[in-house]
Amino acid sequence: MSTTHTTTGTWFFACKTTDVPTNGGVCVKYNDEQIALFFFARRNEWYATQNLCPHRRQMALSRGMTGTVQDEPKVACPFHKKTFSLKDGRCLSDEHECSLTTYPVKIVDDRVYINVAEITVMAEV
């Protein structure tokens, strides 16, 4: 998993790897939070961010299209196509836009776990 996060928090079980469409995303419910989980099948990489797009505050990022820019993984919000880096959550298409919170992901066998140490950072942006 490529992430710069420290992994001191708790890992919670999100879903099975097969529940996530290849090269796409799903939304994971964790208590009252929504986390967008993305699977890049071609490079076997997983990323997780907040599901809320900070632009118009819509719970939609998990339904966005994934891709890369200069090899950096990104997601585009379905509403207005703002794009965000999945490495560090920064907005790639608008430097004034807020960044996304990102979460570490790990795979154990066919199970996907997300680390929610920093979950409070994202609550009610």
Partner: protein, 831 residues
């Protein structure tokens, strides 16, 4: 799936290559039986074996290729029996293999005329490397040779004898001239004269009666009682299809041999295919390699449940015979009353050129080139693509006497012009390879395969490389995004060429990185425009733009709107009631759209499949409001009620909407049909609009509303319904083929060189000769149409994707909020 291929010649090999390429990830078991001791080799260039090429040089692929691709290859082990009841084959060595599909590619054997003495020592056939080895071993004791047969292969065999040091060699032809099937009398005379200069003696109109000699051959006796001394004889009098296996197991064969096949190359047993020289298609045996390759392609695509058809093949050919160019293309000698011929003959240099043009001087039908065939490819393409000839067609033979413009011919060809007909490589593909950085002939050959078979197209490939590179210096390439260095039109051609079906395949072949929100919808749209497969299949769901991925339009707050198709805006009261009931049940806001249908807003993602299940049960289908696709065909009420109406505009609108429903394009497409000139349906503001006239329909194209409104322009007037639809087919497919991403028809027309006149020429006058192709492409899409929502509703796996939480599918998004306005709901305002 298990496929057994009988025969490992050129066509059998091509069949393996195509099967391997097609099978992709799906498991394919492929077993091949070959009679010869070595794997498939290049029989076309057999004579180069005498120039020092070894048998290994001639191999099409080394043995390791077969093992690397998991093919079990049995060499020197011909199949002896086919058991159709149990679907097995048994080989000479006793191996029995079961098959799901069997491909017979046994090729042909040399036809040996029934003349006494053919079994004498020193008489050879000219077919395999083994034949050459035997000839070579025998040649030192021979001094005068004879070749029976003055066709293509016979002249090749004569060359072989010359190469073996037998300078005193005669070619004997039964008919009054050489190569009677390819060239005319005058050309044949020039060829004969040329060959004579090179030391070859030609005897035409000679019927061999007997091969003379005791044990070994000493000469030939002819029907006119003349005798030709010869101590080595090569028989090359034609081919006979190897159909004995097929006959033995009861497959239908032709009266003069050949396994009868249909357009899919199936024999009378649908699980058995026959391709290459053993196959008899429409009473024709194709003795060239290019049609054999095409047959392999068609058979393999059919085995892989695709639908290509073999509808005959152009027998155009260009060869260098003993240093003399000989080419014949298209129709080399049509009946005199159907064409005019322009003939150029230079007895001094030994060249003969003939072209046949239509009586109106517009098109090239075919021709013959002897001694100098440099113009072959260009002429062939000119004929094949039905390109309009210059005012002075003789310039095709003599060159322009005005200013020289080298390469203009190549650049004038359309992208789809087939440059390499052996490997089916189009001009577009070659140019792409060049722009992709393959700037040498070798590179282009490696990456496109063009010129790797008969090599006849090499000069043209070179011209294309030069022309493309020249053009590159002058403009900035119009590319989709950083992941694909191609324009949309180029992408479409490439995807079509390789029959790619998924975004991943396209990325593997032509892209880099992971793709992005720009290229994914472009590719997904192209795939839909080419094949009309279910858009959520094959991993393409995540390549769709978000609305297409959920087959609904995302609205403020993250809920979706639902638009059932209401063709022509006509709806029964019962169906109106159903929509009302569903809207009530799922608490949806309802509004009439500008396209004469009803939009239902505020549906939760997880409710979409349930809503559609009810809509479909009531007879509705997807309205594709979420796609860059045909939206609506609006109509006025027309002659059924209106006192001014000339025709039934509603019925025609419904017919048109149902024809093009689901059609995906670079952008959305809208249409309308008005029943009279009052134009109540506003057809002139649509991508294509139809207005009734006294005599039929006027067809307008390339209009739109939106931010820059533009009126549609008249494409053709007073059409009957059928012609109107044909023109719409052509217009839409030409637009789909050539437009940049997210370009409406109006913008596309504004950018089109030559504008409306050009478009009218293409659509109405078929100036590019692609009308049939465009219509066929559209028909494929029409035939493949299915309601996407019906497929989702019936497929539990697909339905699963329509939930907001992956780990709590029953929960709806709790952040969704509505407000009330005028007794309905609306989305909460966003910040």
């Amino acid at each position: 799936m298990k496929v057994v291929v009988i025969g490992n010649g050129m066509v059998g090999y091509k069949c393996c290559e195509k099967l391997v390429a097609r099978s992709g990830s799906s498991p394919l078991e492929l077993v091949v039986f070959g009679e010869e001791p070595r794997p498939a080799y290049d029989r076309v260039h057999l004579t180069s074996w005498f120039d020092g090429k070894t048998a290994n040089d001639l191999l099409l692929a080394p043995l390791s290729w077969y093992t690397d691709n998991g093919i079990r290859l049995h060499l020197g082990d011909p199949i002896m029996q086919i058991d159709r009841t149990n679907k097995t084959v048994t080989s000479y060595k006793g191996i029995t293999e079961q098959y799901d599909y069997l491909v017979i590619a046994t090729g042909s054997a040399a036809f040996v005329p029934p003349v006494p003495g053919m079994d004498k020592k020193g008489v050879f056939i000219y077919r395999t490397i083994e034949d050459l080895e035997m000839m070579k071993a025998y040649a030192p004791q021979a001094s005068c040779g004879a070749v029976i047969g003055g066709g293509l292969l016979g002249l090749e065999a004569a060359k072989a004898l010359l190469d073996l040091g037998i300078s005193n060699t005669h070619v004997i032809e039964f008919s009054p001239r050489l190569m009677p099937r390819q060239i005319d009398e005058q050309g044949s005379a020039i060829l004969q004269h040329k060959l004579h200069q090179l030391g070859l003696k030609i005897l035409t109109g000679k019927n061999t009666r007997e091969v003379m000699g005791e044990e070994a051959v000493t000469g030939l006796q002819f029907a006119d009682d003349t005798i030709l001394p010869a101590d080595i004889v090569v028989v090359s009098a034609g081919i006979k299809p190897r159909d004995e296996l097929a006959k033995a197991c009861g497959l239908a064969t032709g009266p003069r041999g050949g396994i009868i096949v249909n357009e899919q190359l199936q024999t009378s047993d649908p699980y058995i295919y026959a391709i290459g020289e053993c196959a008899l298609h429409n009473n024709m045996i194709y003795g060239l390699v290019a049609p054999g390759y095409e047959m392999a392609e068609v058979a393999v695509s059919h085995i892989c449940s695709d639908h290509k058809a073999f509808t005959g093949f152009d027998m155009s050919t260009k060869l260098k015979l003993i240093g003399v160019d000989v080419a014949s293309f298209g129709d080399p000698f049509p009946a005199p009353d159907t064409c005019h011929s322009i003939v150029f003959e230079d007895k001094y240099k030994g060249t003969y050129k003939r072209i046949n043009i239509t009586p109106d001087g517009q098109f090239l039908l075919g021709g013959i080139l002897i001694g100098d065939a440099a113009a072959y490819n260009l002429l062939l393409q000119t004929a094949r693509n039905k390109m309009v000839l210059p005012a002075n067609p003789e310039e095709l033979l003599l060159g322009s006497r005005g200013t020289a413009d080298n390469g203009a011919g190549v650049t004038a060809l359309p992208d789809e012009a087939m440059i390499c007909s052996c490997e089916n490589v189009s001009k577009g593909a070659i140019c792409q390879a060049v722009t992709d950085g393959h700037e040498t002939l070798d590179d282009v050959k490696k990456c496109t395969k063009a010129g790797t078979c008969c090599g006849g197209c090499t000069p043209m490939v070179k011209d294309l490389i030069t022309a493309t590179m020249k053009a590159q210096g002058k403009y900035i390439r119009n590319v989709v995004c950083e992941h694909f260095p191609y324009s949309r039109q180029e992408m479409l051609d490439l995807i079509k060429l390789k029959s790619l079906r998924s975004f991943d395949e396209v990325l593997d072949h032509y892209g880099s990185g992971e793709g992005c929100e720009v290229c994914k919808p472009v590719v997904a749209s192209i795939l839909a425009s080419l094949w009309n497969d279910m858009i959520l299949d094959k991993g393409n769901d995540t390549a769709q733009d978000s609305n297409d991925r959920y087959l609904a339009n995302i609205q403020k707050g993250g809920t979706y709107s639902v638009v059932p198709r209401i063709p022509g805006g006509e709806i029964t009261p019962e169906k109106l009631i159903v929509i009302g009931e569903i809207a009530t049940k799922y608490n949806l806001y309802t509004k009439i759209t500008g396209g004469q249908r009803i939009d239902l807003f505020g549906a939760h993602l997880s409710d979409l499949p349930d809503i559609w299940e009810e809509l479909i049960a009531a007879g509705f289908e997807s309205g594709h409001a979420y796609g860059k696709a045909l939206r609506t065909v609006k109509s006025c009420v027309g002659s059924t009620w209106c006192r001014f109406g000339l025709h039934d505009s509603v019925s025609f609108a419904i017919q048109i909407e149902e024809r093009y429903r689901g059609l995906r394009a670079p952008h959305k497409i809208k249409s309308a049909v008005s029943g009279c000139i009052r134009e109540c349906a506003e057809a002139q503001s649509k991508d294509f609009g139809i207005i009734a006239t006294e005599k039929g329909w006027n067809l307008y194209v390339c209009g739109n509303g939106g931010s820059k409104p533009q009126h549609a322009q008249l494409l053709a007037a007073d059409l009957d319904s059928e012609t109107c639809i044909r023109y719409i087919d052509r217009f839409l497919m030409f637009y789909i083929k050539t437009a940049d991403p997210l370009t409406r028809t109006a913008t596309w027309l504004n950018k089109l060189d030559g504008g409306m006149d050009y478009l009218r020429n293409v659509v109405v006058n078929d100036s590019l000769g692609i009308a049939e192709q465009l219509e066929a492409a559209m028909q494929l899409l029409v035939d493949n149409y299915k309601c996407e929502w019906k497929e989702v509703v019936e497929n539990p796996e697909l339905r699963k994707r329509f939930s907001h939480f992956v780990n709590a599918p029953a929960d709806k998004d709790p952040t969704v909020k509505f407000e009330t306005m005028r007794a309905q709901k609306k989305a909460a305002e966003w910040k």
